[in-house]
C-alpha cells in the first residue's frame, strides 16, 4: 500500500532533531544525524511508493490559493478549446504532439498549439498579481506588455530593460537606448481588443521577426548586437540562435493566420445565429490566444536579437525571496558566435533537448504525495537549465538517454537538465562510492555516444574541488565540472 504524506511526516517526527538532547562535548552531530536519518526515512518511503525510477522531486506545494489557480487554468484551457476546436488539446502533451510546435523557453517549453507553457510554472506566484497563480500563462496572458525571459516569471518589458541598462557601462547605454527604443516601438504597436487588431499586431511582429531573423542568421549575431552586452553569455546566445532557427522553420505566420481564420469563422457563425455576445467573447478570447501564440516566439527572438532580456527571476518557490539579479559570470562581450554549416547560429552542435526522452521521476507534492528530498537540494537541482516537470502526472521529469554498447548492454543515464549541447547534473556534494563511480561512467559514456557534453554543476567551490578529485581519482573523462551560477 502506498504510504501517504502523513506517514512520511510521522517518520520525520519520530526522528525530530529537537527530541535529541544536546551533548555538551559533541553538540551538533546528533542533531545532524537525526536530520540525515529523517531524510533517509522519507527517501525510502518515497521510493516504496513509486515505480522503479522513483525519486521524489516535489513540485510546488499546493497553496490555499490553488482554487484560484485551478479556475484560471480551466479558463485558459477553455480558451484553448475555443480556438483549436480540439478536445485533445486539453492535455498539454497532446497539444504538443498534435500541433508539433513547441518553443524552448529556458525553464519550460512553450506550446504553440496550446498557447501557453507545457509544464507548470516553477514559481509559486504572487498574491498581488492573481494571474501569476496560473501555472501555464505566458506573460500573464498579456504578451504585449510582459516578457518571460526564462519561462519562470513574466515581467514588464520596460522594467527588464531599465534594469539591464543600469548594469551597462555608461559608454554603452546610448547604444542600448537606441536599440531598445526601436524594439519597444515595434512591439508597442496598437494591441486592439478585436481580432483584426490582434492579428495585425502579431502578424506584423512576426514579419519583423522573420526578417530580422534572416538577417541575423546571415550576418551572425555579432553584427546585430552591436557591442551590447549579452546577459546570457555566448552559450545562451547560441541557444537562442538555434531557437530562432527552429521558430522560423515552424511557419509562425501560417499558424497564426490559420488560427485567426478559424476563430473569425466561428465568430461569424455565432453572430449569424444571433448569438452576438458569444461571438464577441470568442473574438476577445481568440485575440488573446493568438497574441500568446506569437509570444512564445517573441520571447526568445527578442532576447536573442537585442541581448537585453535575460534577467534571472526572483525565486520564491519556498517562501524565500531574492532580488532580481544578473549573474556577473554570465555577462560577456560578444565578439563572435560560431556559425553552423547551414548558416544557423550554433547549429553545428547537436542539441540535447532534441535527443533526450523525458521520463517521470518519483515524488509528488500534490495531495497525498511526499517530498523525499531536502528542499534546498530540490531547489538547487530544479534550477538546472532546461529542468522541467510533467503537468499531467504532477511529477518532475529527467532528460534520459540510452544506447546499446558493443556487448549489447543498454547504457542509460538520467540528468537534471539540458542546455544546448550539454547534459547537466547538479551535485551538492559528490560521494566516492562504487555506485557513484558507475553512475558517472554511464553519464560520460552516454554523452560521448551522442556527441554531447556531460556537465556537473556544483553549489560551492569546495564541491567543485571534490568533484575534480572524484574525476581524477576514478579516471573519468568527459564530464565538465563547474560552479553553478544560480
Amino acid at each position: 500500500m502506498r504510504p501517504g504524506f502523513g506517514q512520511v511526516e510521522a517518520a520525520r517526527r519520530r526522528l525530530k532533531p529537537e527530541c535529541l538532547p544536546p551533548l555538551a562535548r559533541w553538540r551538533d552531530t546528533p542533531r545532524m544525524l537525526g536530520r540525515v536519518l529523517s531524510l533517509v526515512a522519507a527517501l525510502l518511503l518515497s521510493c516504496a511508493s513509486t515505480d522503479a525510477h522513483s525519486y521524489a522531486r516535489p513540485l510546488q506545494a499546493e497553496t490555499a490559493r490553488q482554487g484560484f489557480a485551478a479556475a484560471a487554468h480551466d479558463a485558459h484551457r477553455a480558451q484553448a478549446r475555443v480556438t483549436t476546436d480540439a478536445a485533445s488539446e486539453n492535455s498539454p502533451a497532446a497539444a504538443e504532439a498534435s500541433d508539433g510546435r513547441r518553443f524552448y523557453a529556458k525553464a519550460r517549453y512553450y506550446g504553440g498549439g496550446r498557447g501557453g507553457f507545457l509544464s507548470v510554472d516553477p514559481w509559486q506566484g504572487d498574491a498581488t498579481n492573481p494571474l501569476s497563480y496560473d501555472k501555464y500563462l505566458y506573460g500573464y496572458a498579456n504578451p504585449g506588455m510582459y516578457i518571460d525571459p526564462d519561462g519562470r516569471l513574466g515581467m514588464p518589458r520596460e522594467a527588464a530593460l531599465a534594469y539591464a541598462r543600469s548594469l551597462l557601462p555608461p559608454e554603452k547605454q546610448a547604444e542600448f537606448d537606441r536599440q531598445s527604443a526601436a524594439m519597444l516601438a515595434r512591439l508597442n504597436a496598437e494591441d486592439s481588443g478585436d481580432i483584426a487588431g490582434a492579428v495585425e499586431w502579431v502578424a506584423e511582429g512576426a514579419v519583423d521577426t522573420v526578417e530580422l531573423g534572416r538577417d541575423t542568421l546571415a550576418a551572425g549575431v555579432e553584427g546585430k548586437t552591436g557591442g551590447l552586452v549579452d546577459f546570457g553569455g555566448r552559450r545562451a546566445m547560441q541557444e537562442r540562435g538555434t531557437a530562432l532557427a527552429n521558430f522560423l522553420s515552424n511557419d509562425p505566420l501560417g499558424a497564426i493566420r490559420d488560427r485567426a481564420v478559424q476563430i473569425e469563422s466561428q465568430a461569424d457563425a455565432l453572430a449569424a445565429a444571433g448569438r452576438h455576445e458569444e461571438a464577441q467573447k470568442l473574438r476577445i478570447k481568440g485575440s488573446l490566444d493568438i497574441a500568446s501564440l506569437g509570444a512564445g516566439g517573441y520571447g526568445f527572438v527578442r532576447a536573442g536579437i537585442s541581448g537585453v532580456a535575460r534577467v534571472t527571476k526572483p525565486w520564491r518557490g519556498s517562501g524565500e525571496s531574492s532580488p532580481i539579479t544578473i549573474s556577473e559570470g554570465d555577462n560577456a562581450e560578444i565578439s563572435s558566435v560560431p556559425t553552423g554549416p547551414d548558416g544557423g547560429v550554433g547549429s553545428s552542435d547537436p542539441v540535447a533537448a532534441d535527443l533526450v526522452t523525458w521520463v517521470d521521476e518519483g515524488g509528488n507534492l500534490r495531495e497525498g504525495g511526499n517530498p523525499g528530498m531536502r528542499q534546498d537540494a530540490y531547489e538547487f537541482q530544479s534550477r538546472a537549465s532546461g529542468a522541467r516537470s510533467n503537468v499531467v502526472t504532477g511529477r518532475s521529469q529527467a532528460p534520459y538517454l540510452e544506447f546499446v554498447d558493443e556487448s549489447g548492454a543498454v547504457v542509460g543515464a538520467k540528468f537534471d537538465g539540458v542546455s544546448g549541447s550539454e547534459l547537466i547534473d547538479r551535485k551538492i556534494d559528490p560521494v566516492f562510492s562504487a555506485k557513484a563511480v558507475n553512475q558517472a561512467r554511464r553519464k560520460s559514456a552516454v554523452a560521448r555516444h551522442f556527441s554531447l557534453t556531460a556537465v556537473w554543476e556544483t553549489k560551492t567551490p569546495s564541491a567543485v574541488s571534490a568533484a575534480d578529485r572524484f574525476m581524477k581519482t576514478n579516471e573519468i573523462e568527459g564530464i565538465v565540472v563547474r560552479l553553478a551560477t544560480e
Binding site: 545532524m32 544525524l33 536530520r35 540525515v36 533517509v40 537540494a377 556534494d429 555506485k435 557513484a436 553512475q439
Partner: protein, 83 residues
C-alpha cells in the same frame, strides 16, 4: 544522549542499503542522490565533529567480526567525504 552508537549504526544501515541495493530495488541514480544528500548534510558538521564521527565509524568497523563489513564501514568516511 549518552550513547550515539545506535544512531551511527542506523546511519551505516542507510548508507549500506543505498550503496548495495540492486537496480530492481532502488533506481541507481536515486540511490546515488540519496548518498549525496547524506554526504552533504554530514559535511556541514564542524571539522571537529566530522573527525569524531569518523572515529565512530572506525570504532564500529573494528568491532565487526565480518571482514567485508569491517572494510566497508571503515571506508565510509572517505566515501561520504568526511574530513
Amino acid at each position: 544522549m549518552k550513547d550515539i552508537t545506535p544512531l551511527v549504526n542506523a546511519l551505516i544501515d542507510a548508507l549500506l542499503l543505498l550503496e548495495f541495493c540492486g537496480p530492481d530495488e532502488v533506481d541507481p541514480d536515486t540511490a546515488v542522490r540519496g548518498l549525496e544528500s547524506i554526504s552533504s548534510s554530514l559535511c556541514a558538521l564542524s571539522a571537529q565533529d566530522q573527525a569524531f564521527l569518523r572515529s565512530e565509524f572506525i570504532r564500529i568497523a573494528a568491532s565487526s567480526e565480518d571482514p567485508r563489513f569491517r572494510e566497508h564501514i571503515a571506508s565510509l568516511p572517505d566515501i561520504i567525504g568526511l574530513s
